[in-house]
Structures are given as structure tokens and as C-alpha cells.
Symmetry: C2
Subunit: 125 residues, 2 copies
DNA sequence: CAAACATATGAATAAATGCTCATATGATAA
DNA sequence: TTATCATATGAGCATTTATTCATATGTTTG
């Protein structure tokens, strides 16, 4: 996922109506959340922005599942699943606990279901 | 944003417990939404997965704004904003209407606010 | 009409991403 | 302990992505 350290934007050359709509420009910058919050938000949604990760999350809607069964369920390699689980853990969307030889993954909290449900509502119009 | 036409996965070599947890594997595939729905969902969340687009959405929380004012507000070029607006339109998160020389953008519906609010709740723990 | 303005878009580029392969880590079983 | 199993991870590659620059489209004004 993007590291988002893109070089700071320059060249704010634009049309001449800045003064006309200065009120809006002002209001926007007043209400804009701080940079690190915006960054965290974007990172969170990036975690949902891939079909493999979405499938993993749907799988975990049903049950707690080990890496190996996830790989089998989704028809992908253990390595691919494991890499994606790392990203989902970083976004705190899933957690895992060891059970003997295996590590069982589960949804970290209820926001995951809510966000996906809202997304579903949106694409279903 | 990813075209997501990645070659179909192969090599389902995995551990030997597939049979052990066959019930889970089965349940997962029964409940998994169809491929095109998963794709649309991932594409939707990708649209939220970039700080520039998140900033545009926050800006539009406050008011309907033309491209030029958006560029001024965010300190970015008109071109960069316009490219991102195209993606947001494709995801049906924003719409625009012409008003004289300008095109004024606004949030397409209320899911946008809800989804971002849920995301905020999640990162705020 | 032409000139000026606001927005859109194509090409190019640097950076990020997802998968594969090989290998490492860490737990259990013999 | 050593062997085996389940998971994690680093490197490499092909693809995707966000921005810039230059230019095109479309509207209004003179």
C-alpha cells in the first residue's frame, strides 16, 4: 500500500476566482482534519481496497479461520494470504491468536462489518 | 487505481488440514458474494484510499465547490484535482454540474459521509 | 467572430502494490 | 534434540497509481 510520502505539491497557479470564493476556501481549511488523521483514514480505506483482502474479510465474517484454510478457501497461496493478513493486521481490521501450530484469524472489531455493509449499500445504489 | 485483472491464482498447495476444517472452507465459499460484487466493493474503497481524494471529500462536506477553489483550498494544481475528481465521479462519490464557466462539485449521496464517519470511528479506536 | 477563462485529458514518470519464489521463524511431535 | 508442520517475510517482477506538463474542450465575454 502506498507510503503516501509523495513530494509536497507546488504550483498553486489557478484561476482568478480565489478571491470570489475566498469564504469557501477559508471554511474548507478551517474544517479540514489534521494531516495525520487524513493519512490514517486513507490508509484504513486502502486496506479495504483490494479484492483479496475483501474476500479475507468476508471469510472472517463467517468464522475464525487459520491462514491455511483461508488460502484453501480463496484458492490462493499461503504466502499471498499471509502478506495480505499482515496489511489487515496493520490496519487493525483483523487479529490473530495462536492455537497450537496454527494461528487463527478473526475480525478485530465491529467497524469492519459496518464499513463493508455501508460500502455494499452504496454499490447497490 | 488497480485494474484488478490479475492473473488467476494457482498453486493451492497448502497444509494438510483442509479436510479437518472442510466445514469452514465450505461455509466460506457458500457465503462469499459473487466476483463482480467483490470487485465493485474493492474499487469503491480504493476511491477512499488516497489522502488527496479524502481531502476533496472533506472539502465537499462543507460546501459545493468548483475545481479551481478545490485546487486553491488544497494547495494543488487544477490538473491534479481534476484527475482525482474523475476517479471520485467514477466511484459515484461526487457529482458536478456546470454553473456558467465553472463546474461545481458536490457529494453524490449520504453514504460518503457515513463511510468516512465509520472510518473515523475506527481510527479513533 | 475571437480572446479569455475553467475544466478535462493524454503521455510520461516515479512510486507503490500484489503476487511468486525461496527461505526464515516458531511451535509441536518423535 | 531433530524433523515436521504452520506461518511469516525478503527480494524480484509486473502492474497500478498519483502527479506533472502540455494541450484539448467547452463556456462566456467583448
Amino acid at each position: 500500500m502506498e507510503k503516501e510520502s509523495r513530494k509536497i505539491m507546488h504550483g498553486v497557479e489557478c484561476c482568478d476566482i480565489e478571491e470570489v470564493h475566498a469564504d469557501k476556501v477559508q471554511m474548507v481549511s478551517e474544517q479540514m482534519p489534521p494531516e495525520d488523521r487524513l493519512y490514517d483514514l486513507a490508509e484504513l480505506f486502502k486496506a479495504f481496497g483490494d479484492t483479496t483482502r475483501i474476500r479475507i474479510l468476508f471469510a472472517l465474517f463467517e468464522a475464525e479461520i487459520c491462514v491455511c484454510d483461508l488460502a484453501a478457501s480463496l484458492g490462493m497461496t499461503q504466502s499471498a494470504i499471509s502478506h495480505q493478513l499482515r496489511l489487515l493486521k496493520q490496519a487493525r481490521l483483523v487479529s490473530g491468536r495462536r492455537e497450537g501450530k496454527q494461528i487463527v484469524y478473526f475480525l478485530a472489531d465491529d467497524h469492519v462489518r459496518t464499513i463493508i455493509q455501508q460500502g455494499m449499500d452504496h454499490i447497490m445504489e
